[in-house]
């Protein structure tokens, strides 16, 4: 069986990793692994998501991360120091509370946390900046070794990864995929997996399948390196500001992105100003530190916030996209689902792309 995967982000590579023991897999990457959202995010990992299906995917992904690091002998520098969701006002606290009950019923160890307790956890945190928060399982992973490790694992299992290879055509005959054309060459394929992240809509169009994911642009910056003092990953749900401290000691953070029409990764001064305000409000001791780098990334999100996973009306053309901002948290398990679907014919009603067709 021949499987062509478009996109070498976390979803594409995880799919390739699980498939390549039993199928002939080629991963097509328009630029290079790490170019897309999987190489541009801040590595926040959590199971504290908004519904049962997503939570299950995230729980399964935590387990896969543990296994894969051992299997491929590569450290993703996954630090499980917890995930903090904080809110600035009562309305947002209520929303978090609703999520909290759901997360508890899904078996997660989540607890409400008092702002003063957060201050004990993070020296320099301003307890007056938030109304409250919830603390649960998760932490920070370094996205680059995740991708490098998966690449290493895929290659060891016989998959081929083709960087700088743009797919220009998907060949469909009688409602069935036959293969694709990339860099002017034809590749035969029984299945084509669309794991192109922010570029998924375009890839889908090549197969004549409509996909209406929202493209979101998000900006991030890195402050200078310091000895560790911020252990958990903090997300302020009221203004979208999040931050953590990397394995190198750099304070990495950003603001949850907004819908965009253009697929560009230019960064802005406006972001720096807003982020500085939001970050310093939460952790005033960050004031006066230098910004080392800033950048932007683009990712896609489905219209209902759930990933789009499954076969389309074109036989053999499979969507594996629309993961939104949870790509790193649920990507490994999405890859596993894709492989089970292709290898075992398992169907996935909850995530089916057909749910958007009226």
């Amino acid at each position: 069986m021949k499987v062509a995967i478009i996109g070498s982000g976390i979803v594409g590579l995880s799919s390739a990793y699980f498939l390549s023991n039993s199928a002939e897999v080629v991963v097509f990457e328009r630029r290079y692994p790490l170019y897309g959202a999987s190489g541009r995010n801040t590595g926040g990992i959590t199971t504290m998501l908004g519904n049962k299906e997503l939570i299950d995917l995230a729980k399964r992904s935590m387990k896969i991360y543990d296994d894969v690091q051992g299997e491929v002998n590569f450290n993703f520098l996954f630090r499980k120091d917890g995930y903090l969701k904080v809110a600035k006002n009562d309305i947002d606290m209520e929303k978090l509370e609703k999520e909290y009950y759901l997360q508890r019923s899904a078996g997660l160890k989540v607890r409400e946390i008092d702002p003063f307790e957060i201050k004990n956890m993070i020296p320099g945190f301003n307890p007056k900046s938030v109304a409250g928060g919830f603390y649960g399982e998760g932490g920070v992973i370094f996205p680059w070794p995740v991708i490098w490790g998966y690449e290493k694992g895929c290659k060891a299992r016989g998959a081929e990864i083709k960087p700088q290879t743009e797919v220009s055509e998907i060949v469909v005959e009688n409602g069935e995929v036959k293969g694709l054309k990339a860099n002017g060459e034809f590749f035969k394929a029984d299945f084509i997996v669309n794991a192109a992240g922010a570029w998924s809509n375009e890839i889908s169009r090549l197969a004549g399948v409509s996909l209406n994911n929202v493209v979101i642009k998000e900006e991030i910056c890195v402050l200078e390196s310091l000895k560790p003092f911020i252990n958990p990953y903090i997300l302020n749900v009221s203004n979208g500001v999040y931050l953590s401290q990397s394995a190198r000691g750099e304070v990495v953070g950003g603001i949850v992105g907004k819908e965009t029409n253009e697929l560009n990764t230019s960064s802005s001064l406006d972001f720096l100003i807003r982020y500085a305000k939001g970050a310093v409000e939460m952790v005033p001791s960050l004031k006066g530190l230098s910004v080392l780098r800033q950048w932007a990334g683009v990712y896609d999100c489905s219209r209902d916030g759930m990933p789009v996973i499954g076969e389309t009306e074109v036989k053999g053309f499979i969507q594996a996209n629309g993961l939104g901002k949870h790509g790193m948290s649920i990507g490994p398990a999405v890859g596993e689902l894709i492989s089970e679907m292709i290898l075992k014919g398992k169907s996935l009603n909850n995530f089916s792309p057909n749910r958007f067709q009226s």
Binding site: N75, S225, S266, K287, L289
Partner: protein, 526 residues
């Protein structure tokens, strides 16, 4: 170690103050940077390197390297070569225990590569999971430079939005000239520099310039800086912002921080990038040992702050910078043991070389530095002869006793802002590195963004000034200022610059410029 008498420069020292270095009082003078005051007090180890914990000292003196990061008044990772002393200031070395001079982790240097080579944090101790998670936690404790801030930074942050005609980034010879010529034509200009003074690297050029009278030949660099600064003071439509660091150009909007506390959002019609250059270093054993300096760093120390870099120096590189530095050192009463030049002949002008020779400094051509010798600071250097294939000839090693080594092997353009702004760049060895494509007036491929001076290609101050004038006046013309007179002046300077480069020393530059000229590239395409 402070110079008192100097034949050319008169050092005006400010009020005496006391700063505390790792708790010990150090005498300093207002107007000195923390780095230079510590240097004058004989302190050589400024920090320790991230992984190997090797001693790091004073190096570039202009905020371009990261050798001098220290904790200042509780705020970590401060480049102390860019911070001026204040009475009672508390300076602490970081990333070391108990301090940078006697760091207990210094032993890592000799052993870490044996048991934990580079990349080990990904590849080692991955199985079983418990071991991996334990090691990952431990690694984190070693990472990080500097302790988390002990107190909240006191700067009162403010914000200013500025609408103007022209934003000039960099107050060296090119930037000052651009500002003057644009302002003369009538444009409203904001001129920004990261230093508390204008002049850029001219402020340490105590020698006289060459060329024709029109190019200010015979005038010392320091004097040229004063002349330009005086003219800027006269021009009321130039708004000078000192200690202002520009960090980005976002779609024509310039972001900058003034005096570490005010954010500037500048909306100019045109931008001139004149950010200059930084020093190149050379690969040899122990090239990070305190006492190995960039030539410009030594000039800053000696000619700007009046501090002796050491007693005996070795100069690597016999270009004009190396030769001029040699006699500047000797003017200040410092011995120069030798000049080492890898090429078979001397790189700089004959007059400079002759002057150095008269003073009795040996110049070893066909030699290079093989290693710096010393434990925590330079005690000597080993030089070696090179064969025609640039390989060291065994048995020709020579030990040269010295307590500092100056690397004077050239400069690289400070190109980052241009790259970030989206200018098309090209690597041109003749111009010193990565430089932007530009048209005959210095405008890059990003409309409205001009380039002038060393950042456009390493040359020297005279050409930088002319490039600045051209960029400044062209920007003004494009905005709608100046009329026919400005057009005339612009073409005159273009002609002047062309003339200036028509000599044997201009050949290399001219051939480099051909490769980045938008007009020439378009012609080649057509």
């Amino acid at each position: 170690m402070r110079l008192e008498d100097h034949p050319i420069v008169k050092f005006k020292r400010g009020k005496e103050v006391t700063i505390y270095f790792n708790g010990k009082p150090v005498k300093a003078y207002e107007g000195e940077t923390v780095a230079s005051a510590l240097y004058a007090a004989g302190i050589r180890t400024f920090s320790r390197s991230f992984r190997f914990h090797r001693p790091r000292g004073f190096f570039c003196a202009i905020g371009k390297c990261s050798s001098c990061l220290m904790e200042v008044d509780g705020i970590p990772n401060i480049r102390v070569c860019k911070v001026y002393v204040r009475d009672g200031m508390r300076i602490k070395t970081q990333n070391s225990f108990p301090n940078a001079d006697s760091d207990l982790l210094g032993f890592l240097d000799s052993i870490i590569d044996r048991f934990y080579p580079h990349g080990s944090h990904y590849k080692k101790f991955n199985r079983p999971r418990i071991l991996r998670e334990f090691v990952t936690k431990q690694i984190r404790g070693f990472a990080g430079a500097g302790d988390p801030p002990k107190k909240v930074f006191e700067g009162n942050a403010s914000y200013e939005k500025i609408e103007t005609d022209l934003a000039v980034i960099g107050g060296g010879p090119a930037g000052m000239s651009a500002a003057i010529f644009a302002a003369r034509a009538g444009a409203k200009v904001i001129l920004m520099d990261e230093n508390p003074f204008l002049g850029g690297q001219l402020v340490k050029q105590t020698h006289r310039f060459f060329g024709s009278g029109r190019h200010r030949a015979g005038t010392r660099g320091i004097r040229i800086a004063e002349i330009l600064a005086d003219e800027i003071k006269e021009l009321k439509n130039i708004d000078v912002r000192y200690e202002t660091k520009v960090f980005g150009i976002y779609n024509g909007v310039v972001g900058a921080v003034e005096r570490d506390k005010k954010l500037l959002e500048i909306l100019p019609k045109k931008i001139v990038v004149a950010t200059g250059a930084y020093e190149r270093t050379l690969v040899f054993e122990n090239n990070d040992l305190p006492g190995v300096y960039g030539a410009g760093g030594v000039q800053t120390l000696m000619n700007v702050f009046g501090i002796k870099p050491g007693n005996v120096g070795l100069i690597v590189g016999s270009g004009n910078v190396g030769l001029i530095l040699t006699y500047q050192l000797m003017q200040a009463g410092i011995k120069v043991a030798a000049i080492v030049e890898a090429m078979p002949r001397i790189g700089g002008y004959f007059v400079h070389a002759a002057k150095v020779r008269r003073l009795g400094v040996p110049i070893y051509t066909g030699y290079t530095i093989q290693r710096a010798i010393g434990k925590k600071k330079v005690e000597a250097a080993e030089i070696v002869k090179l064969d025609e294939k640039w390989c060291a000839v065994k048995g020709t090693e020579k030990r040269i006793d010295c307590d500092f080594i100056c690397i004077a092997i050239g400069l690289s353009p400070t190109h980052e802002l241009l790259y970030q702004a989206g200018c098309k760049m090209r690597f041109i060895p003749e111009l010193g590195g990565l430089v932007p494509l530009r048209n005959r007036y210095g405008e890059t491929t990003v409309e409205g963004v001009y380039v002038a001076g060393d950042v456009a290609g390493i040359e020297e101050a005279t050409a930088a000034m002319m490039e600045g004038r051209i960029a400044g006046i062209d920007a003004a013309i494009k905005i709608g200022y100046g009329g026919d007179e400005a057009l005339k002046v612009r073409e005159e300077v273009v002609r002047d610059l062309k003339e200036f480069r028509e000599g044997p020393f201009g050949e290399r530059i001219v051939s480099g410029l051909k490769k980045v000229s938008i007009e020439e590239l378009q012609e080649a395409e057509a």
